[in-house]
């Protein structure tokens, strides 16, 4: 009986249209629970199931951002990265940079035990010591703006890396513009 049943269900699973079965032979409802044992049939040749994609549905909450108060959260809330960018030999803040820094400031106000090192960076088109001085100005511009947004100056240390810490190795406009930045590096006190 059991064997017949399995065969039968297998037949249905294959989905033969118009397959006629007699009502008398319908099995007990309970054995249906065994259905999962029947994965073998041919049509199930499919690529690995996207397990990950379905996972959030079972987790409940709709917002999937990083844990509040962590570095990931800071990056997320700041718009993806903790850097703002500058023009050639410039240290004034663009409106884009100001927007990003407002978001940084608001996060820093929420997590008021976090301290940060503001690291100023320059591109390679300058001599070493001049670039250290230029990076210092950039870091200070960022610090001054964060302070103007209510962050206590005691929580912010400025440092210049000059041209020592490029994030883009290219020697072209694109690379240089990425390397002229100030990085807000979270230090002690962060939750994560």
């Amino acid at each position: 009986m059991k064997i017949r049943l399995i065969l039968l269900i297998a037949g249905t699973a294959i989905g033969l249209a118009g397959c006629k079965t007699t009502p008398e032979e319908l099995p007990d409802p309970t054995p249906v629970a065994e259905a999962p044992i029947v994965p073998a049939p041919a049509p199930v040749v499919q690529s690995p199931r996207p397990v990950v994609e379905t996972a959030p549905q079972s987790q409940g909450p709709i917002f999937q951002g990083p844990t509040p108060g962590t570095l990931d959260d800071f990056l997320y809330q700041s718009g993806g990265e903790a850097r703002v960018y500058f023009g050639y030999d410039q240290y004034d803040l663009s409106s884009e940079a100001r927007d990003a820094l407002r978001r940084q400031a608001s996060w820093l106000q929420t997590y008021s035990t976090v301290t940060a090192v503001i690291e100023g960076n320059a591109d390679e088109r300058g001599t070493r010591e001049y670039n250290l001085a230029l990076g210092a100005r950039r870091a200070e511009s960022v610090k001054a703006f964060l302070v103007s947004q209510g962050v206590s100056p005691n929580r912010l240390t400025t440092v210049s890396y000059g041209k020592e810490r490029p994030i883009d190795p290219r020697s072209n406009e694109e690379g240089w513009s990425r390397n002229r930045n100030s990085h807000t590096n979270l230090m002690s006190g962060s939750i994560g």
Partner: protein
């Protein structure tokens, strides 16, 4: 860590039967721009001992290389030599040296005086006139053969040019490893010719801009080992290292005064960099500049009375000179372009600098009043000039363009014609030349 061995060299002028005549001899005027290198023959130094002969051959090779690299001499190939001297106390067969077109000849000898002592002697001959120009004797240990060779080269250089040489010197620099976006930097030191390279540090933190004190024993540099980078002083003989001062904010761009008693450095305060003078005995500091502009890269005149530095107070980076006590500064750079990294020559007559224009970086020199600007080299990125102790040669770092860009050391003389790569164990930047070693 103990890498400085005191070399006691007893220099004795070889007198006697072959003493020099008082008349004007062979000489080179290296102040002339268009100089034809002087052909000089330096055969292997002779010796009665096998070990002495090995040392004699090595010494002669180092002397030949030193003289050749200077660009002032053309070191003739030993393959062309006709005469083989067996005793340097007799006059050479000058005709044999004239045939191969040597103007000067160096005959040397190594005398082993026991297991730990040797005497190195040489006579410098004017081949054209057929006379001895000089004769010197040096006492050293056999292990010091290399330094002895540099001393010999220095004394030949001095005898023929009238100026101090620069061969018995060392270069401290930053050794570089790794890709551009993750570069490891550590302090290293080597002889002027690239020999005896050694690391002074493990290289865990970024270190920049090492510079010698006038005693050649101490160097100052900047390190990122603490959150706020600071200036340090390192004794290269003892390895003793000291944080210079206790500043709340970043200090950088240090340089010793010519008497070694004080230091000029830049201190960053609220994003603004100013020059400060620190007395190394009392550790008291005085502020030298007060402008809201960038003021960096201070370098003393050799008399210690003035400073040249880099400032953008006029709107773009330019060079300024002021009293070493501070006060009014006078701009000295007026060419088209941006100027930085000024270094006063030990002779006092020139200031070397970096000039950037049209996407290129050049090494140049000018007089301390800003006149007589001359560009010596140019590339994608030439920077960090440092002077030979006699003020005739500049070593600098040259970085190539692009993702695989790398930094090397190069040297150039004041004519700009003798441009050569400096041998280093790996990639290198931020060179600083020592004074002549004692």
């Amino acid at each position: 860590m103990k890498i400085y061995v005191k070399l006691i060299l007893v220099v004795v002028v070889l007198l006697g039967a072959l003493s020099t005549s008082a008349k004007a001899q062979l000489s080179i005027d290296i102040t002339q721009g268009n100089l034809e290198p002087l052909p000089i023959a330096v055969p292997d130094f002779i010796s009665a001992d096998t070990s002495g002969r090995d040392i004699g051959a090595q010494i002669a090779q180092v002397v030949r290389d030193d003289l050749e690299r200077s660009g002032i001499f053309k070191s003739l190939s030993p393959d062309s030599f006709l005469e083989t001297q067996t005793n340097i106390d007799y006059k050479p067969v000058f005709a044999d040296w004239r045939v191969i077109k040597a103007d000067a000849l160096v005959s040397g000898r190594v005398v082993m005086e026991g297991p730990n002592r040797m005497r190195v002697e040489y006579r410098l001959w004017d081949v054209i006139k057929g006379e001895q120009i000089a004769g010197f004797r040096f006492s050293a240990t056999p292990q010091q053969w290399r330094r002895t060779a540099h001393k010999v080269a220095d004394s030949i250089y001095k005898k023929l040019t009238g100026e101090e040489g620069y061969f018995d010197t060392r270069i401290v620099f930053v050794d570089e490893k790794g890709p551009k976006t993750n570069r490891r930097k550590r302090l290293a030191i080597m002889d002027q010719d690239g020999a005896n390279a050694q690391y002074l540090q493990s290289g865990a933190d970024i270190v920049l801009t090492p510079r010698f004190s006038p005693n050649s024993q101490t160097i100052t540099y900047m390190s990122y080992e603490s959150v706020v980078p600071q200036v340090y002083v390192l004794d290269i003989e003892t390895g003793r290292r000291e944080l210079l001062g206790n500043f709340p904010s970043m200090t950088f761009a240090p340089r010793f005064s010519p008497d070694g008693r004080s230091m000029v450095l830049s201190l960053m305060k609220k994003g603004n960099s100013d020059l400060y003078l620190m007395d190394l005995t009392s550790r008291s500091t005085s502020r030298l500049t007060t402008s809201p502009a960038i003021d960096v890269s201070g370098s003393f005149s050799p008399d210690g009375r003035q400073l040249v530095f880099n400032s953008d107070r006029g709107g773009s980076p330019q060079l300024y000179v002021m009293s070493a006590k501070g006060g009014d500064a006078k701009r000295i750079s007026f060419g088209k372009g941006r100027y930085s990294a000024p270094v006063w020559s030990p002779r006092g007559d020139k200031i070397a600098f970096v000039k950037s224009k049209g996407g290129k970086f050049a090494i140049g020199v000018m007089n301390p009043d800003g006149s007589g600007e001359r560009i010596l080299t140019e590339s994608f990125l030439d920077e960090s000039p440092t002077w030979s102790p006699n003020g005739r040669v500049i070593i600098f770092s040259r970085e190539t363009r692009g993702e695989r860009g790398k930094s090397e050391l190069w040297s150039v003389d004041l004519t700009g014609r003798n441009l050569r790569k400096v041998s280093t164990p790996g990639r290198a930047s931020d060179p600083a030349w020592s004074p002549l070693l004692p």
